[in-house]
């Protein structure tokens, strides 16, 4: 695979990351935000894979596994939190959960 593909793959990671980021920024629905974070994590993982593939080393994939694990844990805890928030506030609006105002 050519270097240009590598660059393209990195760019793909960047684009996906940006899309996730935009989503986090514009969404008020807290589940959407969680999904967007997943997209971003996935994009980051992609970047690792690209790097590992570029140097033909397993480290990139190892990192991806770590990210995966973390994403899984994050989703489970995050969803539990979402449930809790929904039960307390009866809404999924993240702006409503703004009690920690300074």
């Amino acid at each position: 695979m050519s270097a240009s593909t590598m660059e393209a793959a990195l760019l793909l990671a960047g684009v996906l990351f940006m899309l996730g980021l935009i989503s986090v920024l514009i969404r008020r629905n807290i589940i959407f935000m969680l999904i967007s974070v997943e997209i971003m994590l996935n994009a980051a993982g992609l970047a690792f894979i690209v790097a590992g593939s570029r140097w033909v080393q397993p480290d990139g994939q190892v990192m991806f596994i770590f990210i995966l694990t973390m994403a899984a844990a994050e989703v489970s805890v995050g969803l539990a939190l979402i449930l809790q928030i929904y039960h307390q506030l009866k809404t999924l609006d993240s702006d409503a959960a703004s009690f920690m105002k300074g």
Binding site: G14, I31, G52, Q61, L81
Partner: protein, 179 residues
């Protein structure tokens, strides 16, 4: 192989755009599955078949299913979709989009500027055995940490997800008292 990569990449980008523009959360999740699958294809083209498999199983499988379960528990209706529409008007998303575009532009610039040394030829697959060896070799500590984190995640999810009717957080209690 390259063509596969580009097609998969295009699909990934398109489906992700669809994810972030949907009002109905189930639709968004379906597109998300597509996005994950296409990224898995990209992994495959990059010579990481095992990771592609994991991507399919865990991201497209487990995580998305988990989210769907939760959505089912939340019992969302057409009203929520409507509200989503109200929340997502252009005035809200233009600013963040510009910001992200700037960030993207910088990333592109960095990738383009820092040209890596050319390595021609086919992709050399890094097989799962090698990954496993390094996981349980130099990265053993990280694996253990991941284990701890997962345990913590399980415990945390259980603890947080429990329905405690009586006990409300004191902060929220004050809130409700004030209201």
């Amino acid at each position: 192989m390259e063509l596969t990569f580009y097609i998969a990449a295009a699909v990934a980008v398109l489906s992700t755009i669809m994810v972030i523009t949907r009002y109905n959360i189930i639709h968004a999740l379906l597109y998300l599955v597509v996005s994950f699958l296409s990224v898995a294809v990209v992994f495959f083209t990059l010579g990481a078949p095992f990771m592609a498999a994991l991507e399919v199983i865990i991201y497209a499988g487990a995580i998305v299913v988990l989210i769907i379960f939760v959505i089912m528990m939340l019992n969302l209706t057409q009203e929520d979709v409507q509200r989503e529409k109200e929340w997502l008007n252009p005035s809200i998303w233009v600013g963040p989009a510009i910001l992200s575009a700037v960030l993207l532009a910088e990333l592109v610039y960095i990738v383009a500027a820092g040209t890596p040394p050319q390595t021609e030829g086919a992709v050399v697959a890094v097989d799962a055995k090698l990954v496993g060896l390094s996981l349980f070799g130099p990265y053993i500590l990280g694996v253990q940490l991941c284990g701890i984190m997962l345990t913590a995640g399980i415990v945390g999810a259980y603890h947080l997800g429990r329905q405690k009717k009586k006990v409300i957080h004191r902060f929220l209690q004050e809130r409700s008292a004030a209201a």
